[in-house]
Symmetry: C2
Subunit: 332 residues, 2 copies
């Protein structure tokens, strides 16, 4: 692919006519007596070779100020607060967090690590935007909880794990069980399965876990029919404010006792807490009450969140600071 001097002149000429004089490629082609296809290729070369330079004034996709405050307040190692898009629909906020969160998360991972994943819509968006060019290799990607519905949804832990393993390079360790089984006994028999136990063992070797944080009001579990609205109402009465891996916890970050606790197939909080790096991935200000507790107790050690969500979380922190004992939180 060597280009002669006159070839480079040709490229310059094409670039000049197209970008400066804004002729169409067909017009340029006529002028140069080549095909439009060739003009398209010439222009690509022009961009690659720097004959044409396109500079875009920097867009800052993150909000450093909020990141700093969150990191200070909850003593987090890594925080990414993703600036909200102009049009704030749930979907656009999610995909924004996914798009700009993906490279942040990717940079936390190293070749050969054991990575755990749950499901969730925001997490799904993030995984979608993990680029194949960040290939690491040798990962072991482990599913942290069973599947939510009978059918495998786009954002189930299995699907996300599979995609991550494919894109970054690594092996998928799948649980192949539902998230919620009919009884404690049933759960125990599941856990005895060789396949499941092999996965479970990896929980102790895990380097990074990526988890979604669920609220009681807007939950994938209801959408997918695993829990019913009444179930959540009851859990709420018991003090539950959020959910991770299908497990409910209260405002102090303690897991709630309930009929479900023994029927859920997923990593346990004590195991989760031992993982060196647990990254919460979430979007939307309605989640704040679910997020604050797990940050406070260190169940989640890093956070990818949207701008509005971040503000909501900080507001909660401020409130409890003002009236309660100033435990762990400090004003900056």
């Amino acid at each position: 692919m060597v280009h002669s001097v006159s070839e480079i002149e040709l490229i310059k000429l094409a670039a000049r006519l197209y970008y400066v004089d804004s002729l169409s490629q067909v017009e340029v082609a006529r002028l140069l007596a080549v095909s439009q296809a060739k003009v398209s290729r010439l222009l690509q070369l022009a961009r690659e070779k720097g004959v044409v330079q396109i500079t875009v004034s920097e867009y800052e996709p993150r909000v450093p100020e909020l990141e700093q405050r969150l990191a200070d307040t909850y003593d987090l190692g890594h925080v990414a607060v993703i600036r909200d898009p102009h049009v704030r629909t749930t979907a656009s906020i999610r995909s924004n967090v996914g798009y700009f969160g993906a490279p942040v998360v990717t940079r936390l991972l190293r070749a050969g690590q054991v990575i755990g994943l749950t499901g969730g819509r925001v997490l799904a968006e993030l995984i979608r935007h993990v680029s194949a060019s960040d290939h690491l290799g040798g990962l072991r990607v482990v599913q942290l909880m069973g599947s939510i519905g009978a059918d495998v949804a786009e954002f189930d832990a299995v699907e996300l794990s599979r995609r991550l393993a494919n894109v970054l390079g690594g092996t998928l360790y799948t649980l192949n069980t539902p998230a919620l089984v009919s009884s404690a006994a049933s759960r125990n028999s599941f856990l005895k399965l060789e396949q499941v136990r092999a996965v479970w063992k990896l929980y102790n070797e895990m380097d990074v876990a990526l988890v979604g944080i669920g609220s009681l009001s807007d939950s994938s579990f209801i959408e997918r029919g695993t829990y019913r609205a009444e179930d959540l109402k009851r859990m709420h009465a018991l003090g539950a404010v959020g959910e991770i891996c299908g497990r409910f916890y209260d405002a102090n970050g303690h897991e709630c006792q309930s009929e479900f606790r023994d029927r859920i197939v997923s990593i346990q909080f004590n195991e989760l807490r031992r993982i060196p790096l647990t990254v919460g991935v979430t979007a939307g200000s309605g989640r704040a009450e679910a997020i604050a507790p797990v940050l406070r107790v260190g169940l989640v050690k890093a956070l990818i969140i949207d701008e509005n969500g971040a503000r909501a979380v900080l507001e909660i922190a401020d409130k409890s600071n003002r009236k309660g004992k100033k435990k762990g939180a400090q004003v900056r």
Copy 2:
């Protein structure tokens, strides 16, 4: 059309995603929760507002060295030597000369002037590329010779004059006669027509004339059937080397005596020579022998020519310099 801060952030984001991350507009639209149409508009704004800056490394469409040599050799006021394109077909060379020659010519013109035009394919290309944004107004555009064929071709003097008058703004003065009539008597009766005489009078007020320079070997006149190949052969035997406005001349730039001379309806050489600025527009190295004489005798005072043609003309100049008396030409 005022844009808020968040609107500008939106523009930046769109530009960033499109130009830096090279997402398609549809993908950007999904991410921003707007339509693709809006993204297209945002990107346009981004370019207009300088959020995106596209710089193209300079392409030098002209060859200053050859221009200098031609100007020195023939004492020309204005010379443009247009760099040859990579692929040298007759068509691509012509359109190149037209494209880059057009602004040069336009810059020579002033509002209110009387401009004369002949026909010709290169001149046609040039006129084609005169941009409406260079509107001057008040021009009088005069046809310097009759039409070559029965049908009006793309590159007939009428058509070119009409277009120039339209684009730059001015009135068209058309001859409405054939270029070659059947007899001297016929010619005389044509010249007596009030309409024709009105045009002819303008020849004395003319500020600028744009003329093509024809060779005997490759002539529009043959293509259009005005002259036959035998005619040209005969003219060649009489010493003719070129043609301007349908009039033949020899290597010394003197008009040839011939049966045609009294039958051609076009401006005369003595009138042409009085015009303050006569611009020759030509392309192709085969024309060199026709070009050199008219430059030497000052029938043409400025030149728009392609690179190869320029070299050929200079070669002729060098040759006659070396063996003949060093009249007017100087080595630089």
